[in-house]
């Protein structure tokens, strides 16, 4: 019983350590495609790192490819196209892939919740389960 409390403390300290040292940049590891303005798309990981290996493809509503190409070192993709682009898809070849509706995509409901709260929620769930079973086994 006692050892699991110690493990819970270790886990919470680990969590605080991660949040403290990554507080400026910490976000989940996911790729994000952002149409910045007409002719410019920005691709990054959501820790803020530019996805410089990403390859961007723009599609129209019927799924036909309108334009495609590699982003630059800073994660920007510049294109020159007059037709209406429905969505951009970025793939970095490392298993990350993301799609975005051109300027119209509303953020996922969870993205409105601060990451720290989400991380606390997840940590709280596992500590709670550990505590419940520790008491049962007492």
């Amino acid at each position: 019983m006692k050892k699991y409390w110690r493990w819970s403390v270790y886990l919470i300290l680990f969590f605080l350590f991660v949040i403290f040292f990554e507080s400026e940049t910490v976000f989940a590891h996911r790729m994000v495609v952002e149409p910045i303005e007409d002719g410019v798309v920005y691709v990054r990981y959501d820790d803020g790192t530019p996805a410089s290996a990403a390859y961007v493809t723009a599609y129209d509503e019927t799924g036909d490819v309108l334009v495609e190409g590699q982003v630059d070192e800073e994660g920007y993709f510049y294109y020159d196209h007059d037709e209406e682009i429905d969505r951009f898809v970025a793939d970095d070849g490392l298993g990350h892939r993301s799609a975005s509706k051109d300027k119209m995509e509303s953020p996922h409901i969870l993205e409105k919740i601060p990451l720290v709260i989400r991380a606390l929620l997840g940590t709280g769930v596992v500590v709670f389960i550990a505590a419940i079973f520790s008491f049962r086994n007492k």
């Binding site: 050892k3 699991y4 493990w7 819970s8 270790y10 886990l11 680990f14 969590f15 991660v18 949040i19 990554e22 940049t25 910490v26 976000f27 989940a28 590891h29 996911r30 790729m31 990981y45 820790d47 790192t49 996805a51 410089s52 290996a53 390859y55 590699q70 898809v89 793939d91 970095d92 070849g93 490392l94 298993g95 990350h96 892939r97 993301s98 799609a99 996922h108 969870l110 990451l115 989400r118 991380a119 929620l121 997840g122 940590t123 769930v125 596992v126 500590v127 389960i129 550990a130 505590a131 079973f133 520790s134 049962r136 086994n137």
Partner: protein, 205 residues
Amino acid sequence: MHIADGVISISVAATTTVGAVGILAYSLKGTKEEEIPKISLLAGAFFVASLINIPIGPTSIHPLLGGFLGLVLGRRAPFAIFIGLILQTLLFQHGGISTFGTNMLLMSIPALFVNYLSSIKKNIPLFLKGFIAGVIAICIAVFLLILLLFLSDQRYAEGTFSVIRLLVLAYFPLAILEGIVTGVAYKYLYTMRPSLFNGAGGTSS
């Protein structure tokens, strides 16, 4: 390391999901109630570790803890990974729904392999054992990721998507880092509480 929706083919996703279900069943079989707290807390560590982002080369990576989970939890490691992945998918949108089984397989197999190696190689210094476990777990995970990408789409083998070039570049530093972290953690925990590495389907060292 989390594969997103749409990256791998449907057949690969379906096959790996079946494999993941099998591994989860193997991991759950015979689980005792007193093992749940340890499994749960290490699932939490796995969940939190994904918040540590390390920008390397053209990508951004995070620790996987496969070697550590394999050493501490043994055959229960996939169970902890399953819980951690659910939380990551729900709360951080890591990976994807269709690739959930693939991601679980990708992270569970290295942990199980480390557990197997640990059970047959016992007379190794503690730090070295942890270091090897951490490095091997990353190497196996990267190998599996390359294999799955190649099976899904041949374009990953060429030009811009030359997976081997990118993955080796990105994950070699992580393998070393995770080896050191796992080595230190394993040595410390084993010295403090050797019983931690017995039971829970784990290996006795």
